[in-house]
Amino acid sequence: MQLRGLIAVLLLAPPVPALAACNVLVSTSGVLARTGDATVLSSESGVPSVIVISGFLNPSISISDPRLESWPPGFDWTSATVEASYQAAWTLGSSSGGYSSGTQSFSAGIGLAVTVTLNNRVTAAGGFRQGNYTTKTTISCS
């Protein structure tokens, strides 16, 4: 009975414009590097991430949860602060946000593509042990 109801509802669903979709492409993955400050790693000294978002109508784009994903043994990850900043550009506008460990959002209006340049920064007051550090930031199109 429930299945029949479900099928009926699905059949009633109106067609949806093709542009009511969102594609998110990570075209360049970022690279952290040392800065002049021994307590800071930043992709501004390395390579920023570049993300291209396309195929939408009035998307809301959010940048959230910058986090440390890997670090060398012995590093006190709880003392580290991870932040993200972004610059976004599209046909008729732009947006930017400074370094934040929280969620940052913007609405891109109507455009063919939004290019987001994302930087990550890791700050550890006690400095860094030698090894591999990687971060991850969530970018959502909704």
């Binding site: 009975m1 429930q2 109801g5 479900l6 009926a8 509802v9 699905l10 009633l12 669903a13 949806v16 093709a18 009511a20 979709a21 969102c22 594609n23 998110v24 492409l25 990570v26 075209s27 360049t28 993955s29 970022g30 690279v31 952290l32 590097a33 040392r34 790693l41 992709s43 390395g46 991430s49 993300i51 195929g55 939408f56 998307p59 890997s70 994302l118 990550n120 030698q130 090894g131 591999n132 550090y133 990687t134 971060t135 991850k136 930031t137 969530t138 970018i139 959502s140 199109c141 909704s142």
Partner: protein, 137 residues
């Protein structure tokens, strides 16, 4: 000292570079918003998940509460994980319960790549609202 610093810098760069090699990923979700009525307390939507880029990828399809931060209760996807060939798409059906006395419920659905290495986790999220038939349209 300079060499040491340089070596350290190279180590950071090399490590991150290795972690991100070939990490480009993408996905699509359509439609991103929809609403409709249901004669029962279960509402379903048919969504299309696509991989518009030129390599095979596996995606997670996650029912979420609106706001896309926590998993949605009483919601399911028929294919919560799917592997798509390049430039292909597949339809999935998400269903959720509208628990009485509620007459309307909105859930989110997020699509994200599984096991994507790199510095960015790209997500595409939509919202879908179901209403009991005969209640507010």
């Amino acid at each position: 000292m300079q060499l040491k610093a340089h070596m350290c810098a190279l180590l950071f760069v090399a490590a991150a570079g290795a972690a991100t090699a070939g990490a480009a990923g993408a996905q699509s979700l359509s439609p991103m918003h929809n609403s409709g009525v249901t004669p029962s307390d279960i509402k379903g939507f048919r969504l299309s998940v696509g991989n518009p880029y030129p390599r095979r990828m596996t995606f997670l399809v996650l029912p979420m509460e609106p706001g896309f931060k926590t998993a949605a209760a009483d919601a399911a996807v028929d294919f919560p994980q799917l592997t798509l060939a390049p430039n292909s798409s597949r339809q999935v059906i998400v269903t959720f319960r509208i628990e009485p006395p509620r007459t309307e419920r909105t859930i989110g659905v997020c699509v994200e790549p599984r096991d994507l290495r790199g510095t960015v986790l790209p997500r595409v999220c939509g919202t879908y609202t179901g209403r009991l038939i005969g209640v507010g349209g």
